[in-house]
């Protein structure tokens, strides 16, 4: 390691000879000079590593744009320089923290966020994740209609983020697609900064708070940070927690937190209830003041839920106490190696965070008998999200939400341990033991504690690197299943704009955006399932759909329904299907070929990215 190779400060002759005894004054000099040199070397290494990470990312960027489809995701498809940059950036932050250079640590932290999130913006031409399209549609609807349209979908009852985006579009002319494209970077930067403030409010030092922010960034493989209500709600929620922890001294902060909480309440369906649980715990433990303000938080969340209770009921019971069912996730049936590897990455990152946080929590409880309330408050922030599993499955996404919500609290709990590994060399512990036992390496005497510190820094960096890689595999593992081309956005939007009332716009598989423009609203009012995906039909998922007899049969069924019907088939659907094993390989291609040749289906769009066919009105058509 470069730390061990830096020119050593002069070591007193007596120590060089015997390695045992150094006068006290010499020991102080030794301690000071060696520590300063080591810190300088570490700072230099940190700066170099951060620059290397940024340069490697820039080198890898073109390969991300042109990467061929790989079931194992972007880490395997892009240049290895990308993986190196993902590892080196957080390691640079660790080295900077070890060097005691906060400024450098901040720079490395920002580089870390950028190399982990910029691919979604710079390596793509349109916002990733097909479900982003729905959020763009609601934003467009509010701007076009001048308000929400109750009854269209659940988003109309929680319009906070969409209304804010529509406001931004109205006053600036900014295309929401552009905002959505840059959203992951902005959301993750804000989330990381919010965790830092939360850690500071929890009494952590600046260095430990930086470590917490780094851990929160690295552990966040959930991918909530796209253009979505939960991304905004998560940032606001962590900000509210940071304010609440400061309210012990200044109760005004609790009122500010209430404003943020109100915004969370009108933005996202689930986040307010996790936040309410934490607020109640804070107030009971005396970590937030005035204690009775918890009642106002409950009133805001409960009141808004009561106002929209009819909407919630449409999506099933409010409480589902079957925890085993709630734990089940939508996409973690390991049906392919890519999915299995991504799930493994997520599990490793989650286990590192949760197990580390639990150990840190228990240790802190045992050690800090006086400050148990503060430790319990952090424990509440870290582990209260698990209570969600007792009450809601959230459409198979509850476990992802638990992970997301647990990140800030767990990161703040774990941070002191990582920070301790990265302790600044040259501190008070360099003393007699520093010269009692030593070894020789390249002619430079390296006292054992310094070697120990080097090992500790290396250990801390390795933990962080493992977290970074496993989390990145979970985040980028399904890269090719989640990319959407601008042409597909354009084609789907064009169909929605021209679709007559009562039309069905069916997708052969998930993966393509839907409801991308305001015109989806009349279709959704007519039939909330107007854009159903065929995999939800009985006997379709996993079967050979490229079968002429089956196509004839379902075409007859659709004719019998008497509704204008479109079928959308896109490259994104094929990628999604191949990744999640939705259909046998090549089945969608065959299905597409048969539909294009079928006399009852006319071609609306047929290009390199998408094929959209429409059921002909006239039986003689084709």
């Amino acid at each position: 390691m470069s730390l061990l190779e830096v020119p050593s400060p002069p070591i007193p002759a007596e120590a060089q000879e015997t390695g045992l005894v150094v006068p006290p004054s010499s020991r102080r000099e030794l301690r000071g000079s060696r520590g300063a040199t080591a810190r300088r070397a570490l700072a230099l290494a940190a700066a170099g590593t951060a620059v290397a990470a940024a340069v490697l990312f820039a080198i890898a960027l073109p390969s991300m744009r042109t990467a061929s489809w790989s079931e194992l995701g972007l880490l395997f498809a892009a240049s290895p320089a990308f993986v190196l940059s993902l590892v080196l950036a957080p390691v640079a932050c660790c080295l900077a923290l070890a060097a005691g250079s906060r400024r450098l640590a901040w720079v490395a932290l920002v580089v870390t966020v950028l190399v982990h999130r910029l691919p979604l913006t710079l390596a793509t031409d349109a916002p990733a994740y097909s479900w982003t399209g729905k959020h763009l549609g609601v934003t467009d609807l509010i701007g076009a209609h001048g308000g929400v349209v109750p009854g269209v979908d659940i988003y109309q009852a929680w319009p906070g983020m969409f209304a804010a985006a529509a406001w931004l579009q109205a006053v600036t002319g900014l295309d929401p697609m552009v905002l959505a494209h840059w959203f992951p970077v902005l959301a993750q930067l804000a989330f990381t900064l919010a965790v830092y403030a939360f850690a500071r409010s929890a009494g952590r030092t600046r260095e430990t708070a930086l470590t917490a922010a780094l851990i929160a960034q690295l552990a966040n493989w959930v991918g909530q940070d796209y253009f979505s209500p939960q991304a905004v709600a998560a940032v606001l929620a962590v900000g509210a927690l940071a304010l609440l922890l400061r309210s012990r001294r200044h109760p005004a902060f609790a009122w500010l937190a209430l404003v943020l909480f109100a915004a969370v309440t009108v933005t996202h369906q689930l986040t307010p209830y996790w936040l309410t649980a934490v607020v109640v715990a804070f107030c009971i433990l005396g970590a937030a003041r005035p204690r009775w303000i918890a009642v106002l938080f409950i009133a805001v969340a409960g009141g808004y839920l009561a106002l929209n209770y009819d909407v919630v009921q449409q999506f099933g019971p409010l409480l589902s106490v079957d925890a085993a069912a709630n734990v089940r996730t939508v996409n973690l049936d390991e049906t392919g190696p890519g999915q299995a590897l991504a799930a493994l990455g997520g599990r490793i990152a989650t286990a590192l965070l949760w197990v580390g946080a639990l150990l840190a929590f228990v240790t802190a409880l045992v050690r800090h008998r006086r400050g148990r309330a503060a430790v319990l408050a952090l424990g509440a922030a870290a582990f209260a999200p698990f209570a969600l599993l007792l009450g809601q499955g959230y459409g198979g996404e509850a476990l992802f939400r638990v992970m997301l919500y647990s990140i800030p609290g767990c990161a703040v709990l774990v941070a002191p341990w990582i920070r301790r590994l990265l302790a600044v060399p040259g501190g008070a512990r360099v003393g007699r033991r520093a010269v009692r036992t030593s070894t020789r390496r390249r002619g430079v005497r390296i006292p054992r504690p310094m070697r120990t510190r080097a090992v500790r820094i290396a250990a801390g960096s390795v933990v962080v690197a493992v977290l970074a890689v496993s989390s990145a595999q979970a985040y980028f593992g399904a890269w090719f299943a989640y990319q959407v081309s601008p042409e597909t956005y354009r084609d789907v939007s064009a169909v929605l704009r021209s679709a007559p009332e009562g039309a069905l716009v069916l997708g052969v598989a998930p993966g393509a955006p839907g409801r991308t423009v305001a015109e989806y609203a009349p279709l959704a009012i007519y039939d909330p399932q107007f854009d159903a995906v065929m995999t939800t039909w009985d006997g379709w998922r996993g079967t050979e759909i490229g079968d002429a007899e089956r196509i004839d049969r379902f075409t007859r069924d659709l004719i019998w329904q008497g509704r204008p019907t479109y079928i959308v088939m896109t490259d994104e659907m094929k990628s999604y299907s191949d990744f999640y094993r939705v259909y046998p390989e090549g089945a969608i291609d065959e299905f597409e070929r048969l539909l294009l040749a079928h006399p009852r289906w006319t071609t609306v769009v047929h290009d390199d990215h998408a094929t959209i066919v429409r059921l002909a009105d006239d039986p003689a058509a084709g």
């Binding site: 509010i142 701007g143 209609h145 001048g146 308000g147 929400v148 319009p159 906070g160 983020m161 969409f162 209304a163 804010a164 529509a166 406001w167 931004l168 109205a170 006053v171 600036t172 002319g173 900014l174 804000a190 900064l193 919010a194 830092y196 403030a197 500071r200 409010s201 600046r206 708070a209 905004v232 940032v235 606001l236 900000g239 940071a242 304010l243 400061r246 200044h250 005004a252 902060f253 500010l256 404003v259 943020l260 109100a262 915004a263 009108v266 933005t267």
Partner: protein, 136 residues
């Protein structure tokens, strides 16, 4: 010689919030090109409403960096969501109201709190000034 007063944290924030309020007013009255309007909107939301609160509620630096922009975002979300829910969509009016509120907060703060801070900086008790005993 008149003593030179150190520019306090409050006066810096007053200037920032006023600038943000002006940005908000520009957005509410005109339609600048997107490349100009977006930074104006970001500055307005990130510094305006939250900065106005910050004037009245001093806070640590780490908290300021988070709570000021998030307060602005929260206020914007609440205002925009309220307009969307009641079906009365007036985005420019919302910008004007928030900008006006931020400007008023600065003016009120300047007329009440800043003189106190300046007197404190000069070492003149407020009640002495009120009794006509102070002055530079």
């Amino acid at each position: 010689m008149k003593p030179r007063l150190p520019r306090s944290d409050e006066s810096r924030w007053s200037l920032l919030v006023l600038a943000a309020a002006v940005a908000g007013l520009v957005l509410s009255l005109a339609t600048p090109p997107t490349a100009i309007a977006v930074p104006l909107a970001v500055a307005f939301v990130a510094l305006g409403p939250g900065g106005a609160v910050r004037l009245w509620v001093p806070m640590p630096r780490a908290l300021t960096a988070v709570s000021v922009p998030l307060t602005g975002l929260a206020v914007l979300i609440l205002g925009a969501a309220a307009m969307a829910i009641v079906d009365w969509w007036q985005p420019r009016l919302l910008a004007a109201v928030l900008a006006g509120a931020a400007a008023v907060a600065v003016l009120v703060h300047s007329s009440i709190a800043l003189p106190h801070a300046r007197r404190a900086a000069r070492g003149i008790p407020a009640d002495a000034r009120a009794a006509g005993e102070g002055g530079p």
